[in-house]
Amino acid sequence: MFSRSSIHRVVLKGRGFALVLILLLLALTDYLPLASMLSRGYKEFQNSEPRMIQLLPLSIAQSASLRLGLATTLVAMIFGGAYAVLVETLRPRFLWLWRFLALLPLAVPSYLVALSAIAIFGPKESPTSGLLGEALYSWPCCALILGVCSMSFVAVPLGSTLRRMDAAQLEAALLTRGRWGAFLVLLRSCRPALFLGAFLVFAYTLVSFTTPELMRVKVLTELVYARFSSFRDVPGALFAMGPLLLLTFLCSVGIGWMLSKTHFDSTRPSDGFLWTSSPWPRRLAPLLLLLLLTPSLLFPCAVVFDGGWIAPETKESGLWTLFDRALNENAWITFKLSFTAAMIAWGAGLALSASGLHRVIQGKWLGLFLVPASIPGPILGIGLVLFWNRPGEPWLSIYDSEAMLIFASLGRFLPLGLLLSLMILKRHEKAHEEVAYLGGRSPLLLRGHIREHALTAAIVYALTAGEYSASALVSPPGSTPLAVKIMGFVHFGRTGEVAAMSLVLIAVIFVPCAFFLFCAGYGRGESA
């Protein structure tokens, strides 16, 4: 895996600095907090009451994490797979826009979709009951919501693979083995991308906390959160997170493995192939694509009209004050912190590029980057609190600052950003980079290297702005990001109030995200 020439490049050429920088970031935000939690847990385990631990296996067995993960993966594969296949085989008009939109479900936090679903279909306090009533609070509904919100994880790699598929090869299969044979060839080529997406969605679901909590689905992350936050039971929290970490670690390895087998390692996509020459499927495609996007993109808008924004009682003067405050205070905090995290992720992507590490680490080892991302939000939050809260030491100034929120989001999403950067870098021709090295220049000078990492920044920005599970634990007094504020209003707030803040959050996510994606040239030409 590590060739002598690679080591020479990384270490002797001084590019090890970039690697050290990345590792330092990961250490401060992931490894040290986790180590701190393990160490504290071990110490407290020696003095803890065994009866508390005895109750945990039952709770773990009762949790719906596994079935929720599997069902969500299935939903995401159906929605994401259909989206990618429709876009890449029908090639509707404004193709770049549809490719661009494939990423947008990630920019709508799943808890906003859950809140909208509860407002529209859930039980109503008024005598007229909702469509689904209490049945909405179930793991299949939760899986549906999480699945549509994570369809991008499947749609993007699958779309990218389909676009780089050799049309001649498919044509040959069609001629020699018929339609079914051609389909099998297509499926075999897409399998790594599909599994990559499936592993990503599965890991993403296992670590999700807020949406299952809203949907009243008991999951392991909630158990971990409750053990720590309600009982300060660190050994119990560690015990509960054991199976979770094992599963997500296996997912990380799977993701790396599948990533090494996917077929999008070329900056020159082929012309792809058209499923049909008939004009009608192409004309209908936008409608179908919009339908697939509806749950994640239109639910938050729909809630505005569902007795929320326009309901008479929410036209009281208080709503405007709330909207104004959310816009001026919480939105600014959210933007500032997310932008900082996104810039750091962009910088880390560039550092990765400069280090040449993407040529050194190959195969399933790529998944190692994702291991820290598999730490669930509540666990990361607990680790950060335990590591950075050092009363009487200068560390307290960090603990009492907004940097904790940045650390929380970097801890959760920087590894995912790095993986994305590796995927971007993987597409570049090795020969071009060799030429740059021989010329004594960094591969950063290659066209597009800097610009393309804006995609990493966009994803990290979107996920950070909507992050709740770790932020709720680490947010310092006086700094409430929008996500935390929205969740604080869920219980007693009116639908209109939650809708007003949700709209602000969506605007705070969408506008800079679109800017980053525009910078990256996403959706146009080679970069998708």
Partner: protein
């Protein structure tokens, strides 16, 4: 290293440094940990800012952690606290902090009109604006003649499997359990909860969920808080609030007040005292009573929401004893209901 990456790294760290700055300034700042929902307390804290010019840095608890999240944070930060005032939406956890020696005595001049039942003997905390533990009854499911009037009506066999309580390990239900342990005595309280379990009582995740399920007709009635009931009432649900044990010889409804305390070693102690004085005023109790949480003023002479009886018989509890009963009651309830 290429100059561009240096610039990118520098920019990122400059942004981090800007973001790392402490919020507010050291003068004119007070830090409050508040477990009353942000929606109810934020406006009041803003009012304090407006009246005094002191910046309030507030941290709220999450619904998932109930009150205990902030209490645990206060315990963890004890050796170097950053919090000045703890505004708890109940009392038992405040008593836990007081027993650990984390609270400073402060006899606010505004506390003079507050009944003794709602104040700590050593002035380590002061109660105000309470919630009551009440029955929420689905009017369609239960005829008026059958409405529960006493706590023991939770044991009626007629409604077996149709009665609910919130999980008694968190929030006000846990406090209620501890209060019963302290007032009835351990043996009687245990007997009551065992009978409750035998009657097929259903455990809901929280009071809000219980309220939703009673409104939906899934349960006939259950035990919840006045603030949760008020949400259902405002939405026009067909439910009734019954304050239990209001007869002359009965124990009365449990009132759980908000509690305010000053942290020992608080960095902005003087401002903390100003905030406590402000929050204990009759004006703030009035605001909380007229708000969506419909908190019940503990002082006489402040108008209560219309649906709350103006003359209310409340359960006389010694909160210090409730604090002591908290752990044994938790252990029993966990063994009895969660296993």
């Amino acid at each position: 290293m290429n100059w561009r990456i240096s610039v990118a790294v520098l920019l990122a760290f400059a942004a981090l440094a800007v973001a790392c700055t402490r919020t507010g300034n050291s003068k004119g700042v007070v830090t409050v940990y508040c477990s009353l929902d942000q929606i109810h307390s934020e406006e009041i804290l803003k009012l304090f800012e407006k009246e005094t010019g002191i910046t309030v840095r507030a941290k709220w608890d999450t619904e998932a952690a109930k009150t205990t999240g902030l209490v645990n944070a206060l315990i963890a930060e004890a050796s170097s606290p950053r919090c000045d005032v703890f505004w708890n939406n109940e009392v038992s956890q405040t008593v836990v902090l007081a027993e650990r020696g984390l609270l400073e005595s402060y006899d606010s001049k505004e506390a003079a009109t507050i009944p003794k039942d709602f104040r700590d003997e050593k002035n380590r905390w002061t109660g105000f604006a309470a919630r009551a533990r009440i029955f929420i009854v689905n009017r369609k499911q239960v005829p008026e003649a059958d409405w529960p009037r006493r706590l023991e009506d939770l044991l009626r066999p007629k409604y077996k499997g149709k009665i609910a309580i919130a999980k008694p390990l968190f929030g006000t239900t846990a406090t209620h359990g501890a209060a019963l342990f302290s007032s009835m005595g351990e043996a009687k309280a245990k007997d009551f909860f065992r009978k409750l379990k035998a009657n097929g009582v259903v455990l809901c995740a929280g009071n809000a969920q219980l309220k939703d399920r009673v409104v939906a007709g899934e349960f006939a009635y259950g035990l919840t808080d006045t603030d949760d009931f008020n949400l259902a009432r405002l939405a026009g649900a067909e439910v009734e609030a019954i304050f239990p044990d209001q007869g002359a010889s009965e124990r009365g409804a449990l009132l759980i007040p908000n509690s305010l305390s000053l942290l020992k070693g608080a960095p902005h102690s003087a401002n903390g005292k100003k905030l406590i004085d402000f929050l204990l005023t009759a004006k703030v109790e009035g605001l909380l009573a007229n708000g969506r949480s419909a908190q019940i003023p503990v002082r006489e002479g402040i108008k209560r929401p219309d649906w709350i009886p103006q003359k209310l018989r409340w359960m006389s509890v010694k909160w210090a004893d409730v604090g002591k009963a908290f752990k044994p009651s938790q252990r029993f309830l966990q063994d009895e209901f969660i296993k």
